[in-house]
Amino acid sequence: MNNHFNYYNALNRNFFREDLYNAENNFSLNNNVNNSNSLNNILYGPYEGFIKGNLFKNLYQQYKNYQPAIITPKNEQEQALFNLDQIQFAMHELNLYLDNYPNDRDTFNQFVMLRNYYNKLLMEYENKYDAINVNSISLNNVPFGWVEQTWPWDRGNM
């Protein structure tokens, strides 16, 4: 299985490099030495999990010799949205897992870290670019940005 996927290249291109670096150390996968039941061996990092569509190493099934698409943001906003997508996806994957195993404390702790990070990224994104949610406090003037900001199927990018 190809595990390389330019994770570190992606980080090098990343406008929020520091944040993702922290995210990787916190959520993913390296240094929970005190945790004998470490999730590090179980989960892909947010980037690799996202492009694969599967955060769980034991569940990933490659199709023929197709590799996941490498997503290349073209500007700062696309990169910020891509970061949001990655963290939200990882959070969602743990959410589905926790639905079946609600007492799994390690997974829950990872979920909380991702959630906190997601909320921070979301607020930054909405304040700097477009509203993701209609209840965003970034929507504070006319014309009503919810209407004016491009709809996802028309973006022609991310």
Binding site: Y63, Y66, D85, L96, G156
Partner: protein, 184 residues
């Protein structure tokens, strides 16, 4: 209730019009194994799950499937939006244009409209979850058929990703099924 998030779950940016592929892809919108059927099936079955785990899992996977409807719809829209009437007719989409212009309409790839029989709910949690596991496998197989039918990386990327989601969902349903087998 639901609140919309104004973004796709996974980015889609198809640059090449492809009416042939749009005609096949629509089955993952309105076909028996498509995303619309999956979303409605799970969201409909969740009320009669025997405990809160089942209610949670069917709600959360059903909600994700709503996002997949949006992804498939976006793909069909982007594959067809620049087509002329003549091109649509040449691709066998003339009848579709006559009925729906370029409006999206959930059918399978033969043009058979979506039907609620695809819900397939029995009210028996074990039977319903087994149905859901089968549905995920069938959708995975259809995604593989579709991947085999195109060379466009803008189309293959999202299809590979959606295929992988079927695998994850299948496994979560299976875990719940195995658990219910021990308690019911």
């Amino acid at each position: 209730m639901w609140q919309y998030q104004k973004k796709l779950q996974y980015p889609i940016n198809i640059k090449q019009k492809d009416l042939r592929m749009a005609k096949y892809l629509v089955t993952q919108y309105g076909g028996a194994n498509g995303e619309l059927g999956a979303a409605l099936r799970y969201l409909n079955q969740r009320y009669t799950m025997p405990d809160d785990k089942g209610k949670a899992l069917l709600t959360d996977i059903g909600t994700e499937e709503l996002g997949h409807i949006e992804m498939i719809s976006t793909m069909i829209y982007q594959l067809t939006k620049d087509a002329t009437i003549e091109e649509l007719e040449a691709a066998g989409l003339g009848p579709n244009y006559a009925e729906h212009r370029k409006g999206l309409y959930p059918t399978d790839s033969n043009g058979v409209p979506f039907t609620i029989t695809y819900f397939a709910t029995t009210g028996d949690p074990l039977a319903d979850l087994y149905e859901d596991m089968a549905a995920e496998q069938k959708a995975r197989a259809v995604y593989e058929n579709l991947i085999d039918m195109t060379k466009d990386p803008d189309v293959i990327g999202p299809l590979l990703w959606l295929r992988q989601r079927e695998i994850v969902h299948f496994n979560r349903f299976k875990e719940l099924y195995e658990y219910y087998k021990t308690i019911l």
